[in-house]
């Protein structure tokens, strides 16, 4: 293996006098070898034949160079410019979209907070209004039971009862009231 030429290995001692990878590359590049190496090359058929083989491969690889077709460079530059422009626009749109998404949750939070505050206020007002004066509350239901209403305002209920008495009963009630008033006046 030629790797031994570079790294040293079991065959390194045997190959010591042969040219190394770097020497072959330098030869192909036209760089002069040190005198000792040059002397070896002049006497070693193996190294010389390898060098010539590598040179012919080098020439073969170089010959591939002619085959590359030339494109339209004006069109090429125009395409690059278009792509750069479209990517710039895409990036700006994406940035705007991200900014929008950053704002949207904030708006949603504010709206939901307002909703919660509003509902809480209404609920608090509802409960406080109900406990203080249910009869006057604007949310007071019309189907309030009659008995509870009489308990709350006894004078009015008594008057209603009075209105419902017959003539005879009313006369008797008036006499009772007058006699009780007279009694209290003499006391």
């Amino acid at each position: 293996m030629y790797r031994n030429d570079l790294d040293g290995g079991p065959d390194a001692k045997k190959m010591l006098s042969h040219l190394k990878a770097k020497d072959f590359v330098n030869l192909m590049e036209g760089i002069e070898l040190p005198a000792k190496r040059r002397a070896h090359l002049d006497t070693c058929d193996e190294c010389r034949s390898r060098w010539h083989a590598l040179e012919s491969v080098h020439a073969g690889v170089s010959s591939m160079d002619d085959d590359i077709p030339e494109p339209d460079w004006v069109q090429f530059r125009s395409n690059v410019r278009d792509r750069v422009l479209s990517r710039t626009i895409q990036r700006e749109t994406a940035v705007r979209r991200w900014t929008g998404w950053a704002i949207r949750p904030a708006v949603a939070w504010v709206l939901s907070l307002l909703l919660v505050v509003g509902l809480t206020t209404v609920a608090v007002m509802w409960h406080s209004g109900k406990s203080s004066s249910p009869a006057t509350s604007f949310l007071s239901p019309v189907s309030e039971p009659a008995a509870e209403a009489i308990e709350a305002v006894p004078e009015k209920a008594l008057f209603d009862d009075l209105v419902q008495l017959g003539d005879e009963e009313q006369e008797q009630l008036r006499q009772i009231l007058e006699s009780s008033q007279k009694g209290s006046r003499y006391q």
Partner: protein, 189 residues
């Protein structure tokens, strides 16, 4: 072990480097400077890309990708390195990724655009020889192939290839030697 070609470039370029002047102009708001950069390097980058994919359309797409990437990442370009080295590195990395991604899709594509004038027989023989070498070179590992072609066909110096690939000059020389040796052995078969 395969390594990616991403080593940093530490070469210091003088202020007189026309590439750096173009970059400075571009940053100063002169958008025509990027066109000038393209004009300077489009052919070289396209040729490198072509060597990986061996067909015109794919090579053009890859070369366009390289310049679009270069344009987008120009603000990250460290001006102490050479623009040419930087562009080549983007191209090589992009092409290696492309080859890796599309390894199963590659088919033999032959495009002949050689000059007309020699006899048809000689032309055919030349073409066959070129095709033969192309097939042999294609059998090399992508990175070894890239290094060989950068040296032989793109005529970059060993120092430049070392900077592009982030390896030592002696490693690059060894890589060229082993690539040629491999082809030599394939020719013998």
């Amino acid at each position: 072990m395969e390594r990616t070609l991403t080593a940093s470039v530490t070469m210091v370029a003088g202020n007189s480097d026309p590439d750096i002047e173009l970059v400075e102009r571009y940053f100063a708001g002169d958008t025509t400077a990027f066109d000038e950069i393209m004009i300077r390097y489009e052919r070289q980058i396209y040729r490198v890309c072509y060597r990986f994919v061996e067909n015109r359309d794919d090579a053009l797409d890859l070369a366009q990708d390289v310049f679009v990437k270069a344009f987008e990442h120009l603000p990250t370009f460290r001006r102490e390195s050479r623009l040419k080295t930087w562009l080549y590195r983007i191209a090589i990395n992009h092409c290696l990724n492309h080859v890796k991604k599309h390894a199963h899709e590659f088919v033999e594509v032959t495009e002949y655009t050689g000059s007309v004038g020699a006899s048809a027989q000689t032309q055919l023989e030349d073409q066959e020889q070129r095709e033969h070498f192309r097939r042999l070179v294609k059998q090399l590992p992508p990175k070894q192939k890239a290094i060989l072609e950068l040296r032989i066909n793109e005529q970059l110096s060993y120092e430049e290839i070392a900077r592009i690939s982030g390896r030592s000059v002696s490693t690059i020389k060894a890589s060229v030697f082993f690539a040629l040796e491999k082809i030599r052995k394939l020719v013998k078969k």
